[in-house]
Amino acid sequence: MPAVTARASRRTIDGDFVEAVRYLEREGWTDGLPVIPPTESLVGEMLSHTKHAPDEVLGRMEPLRGTVTVEKVAANAVMAGCEPEYFPVVLASVRAVLQPQFHVGSTACTTGGSAPTIIVNGPIARRLGISGGTACFGGNIKPNATIGRALRLVMRNLGGAKPDGMEKSTQAWPGKIVGCCFAENEARSPWEPFHVSRGHAPESSVVSVVATRGIYPMTEGTQTTGEGVIETLVAAMRYVGTPIFHQMRNRLPLIVALCPEHAQEIARAGFGRQQLCDLLYAEVRLPVRELIGRVYYGARAWPEWIDESDPDARVPIVATPDDIWIVVAGGDGRHSAWMPAWGVCQGAAETIEV
């Protein structure tokens, strides 16, 4: 095998900006959308926002085990359209997916079509303008779109999961292009920030990343009480057709992204975040009779206490209440969402170094 070098190669391209973009497309280094050519000066600007050396090796990106260096991450961040000050968030996101329990290789290749969802908490979200408000999942806000896209380009270009080879998604979802990067709407949350509930200091900034199969919407526009909202959320997540009920023992996280109105009504009804996790764990269950012989039954990973001989035994959506990640996200309106983790991805968090 060729020797592994920690420095990215340099190439000279004749022609103008468009020629350079076309060259990058021909090399297979884009996601189908135009990119910013990663010139030495643009990559240098990106690198000026980290204390880490360009040739520092962060790990190998599965499935094809490309060497991930700080400089190569910076080049992909330039290509994605990131401003240099976004770079610490991109680096933290890359470190998160390189954690072993994220299982980045299998989540990048699976027929299930998962892509990373990045939740940003802490002061950096406000400073960079990472949105947790109106249309925050929609990708039409620059830091949300480009940070998510930078992580996807790193996974694609260094990990090698591309549609002509290792990428085997049956359908995938648009998160395969721009990921799904958003901030928690801490200003409109009735609870402490998500990262604080997970043991991080309030003044720290943190990314929490999970490979998810998509965004499952939950609309409740008629009920006027928190209890009524919860009933609709529970009914929406009792969903046959997602493998999470069969894979729950893998400790897959379930993101429940509540819109501010729903979150505030639930809090007014007396629920803290932990109580809501406990209630969802107890109620978001499907009976064994609805899961036998369906979806991923043959590969089910259920704890021993589930009695399969009882058709009415209830299988929870996750293994423990701690696997439910409740965040507040979105603007005005009455639309929340859930995002189940895929397959074997247990999610990962990283502190953003600023």
Binding site: P63, L64, R65, G160, G165, M166
Partner: protein, 67 residues
């Protein structure tokens, strides 16, 4: 397994053959043998899977012995 000195062969459905080749190369095992079987597998009845398994024995053995 092969890196631990134990001869191995990968059985893969045809839809994943290209991915198996790429992954083997990434692991430094470009000549790692594989046997491709029909796709899809997951939706077949038990007796069909058994027939496919029986049919795969000879090529699996051949791939191991050839080495």
């Amino acid at each position: 397994m092969e890196q631990q000195g134990r001869p191995a062969v990968t059985v893969v459905t045809q839809a994943f053959e290209g991915a198996a080749v790429a992954r083997a190369a990434a692991l430094g095992l470009p000549d790692h043998p594989r046997v491709a079987i029909a796709h899809p597998l997951a939706s077949r009845r038990g007796d069909e899977v058994e027939r496919m398994a029986v049919a795969a024995v000879a090529p699996v053995v051949a791939a191991l012995v050839k080495r």
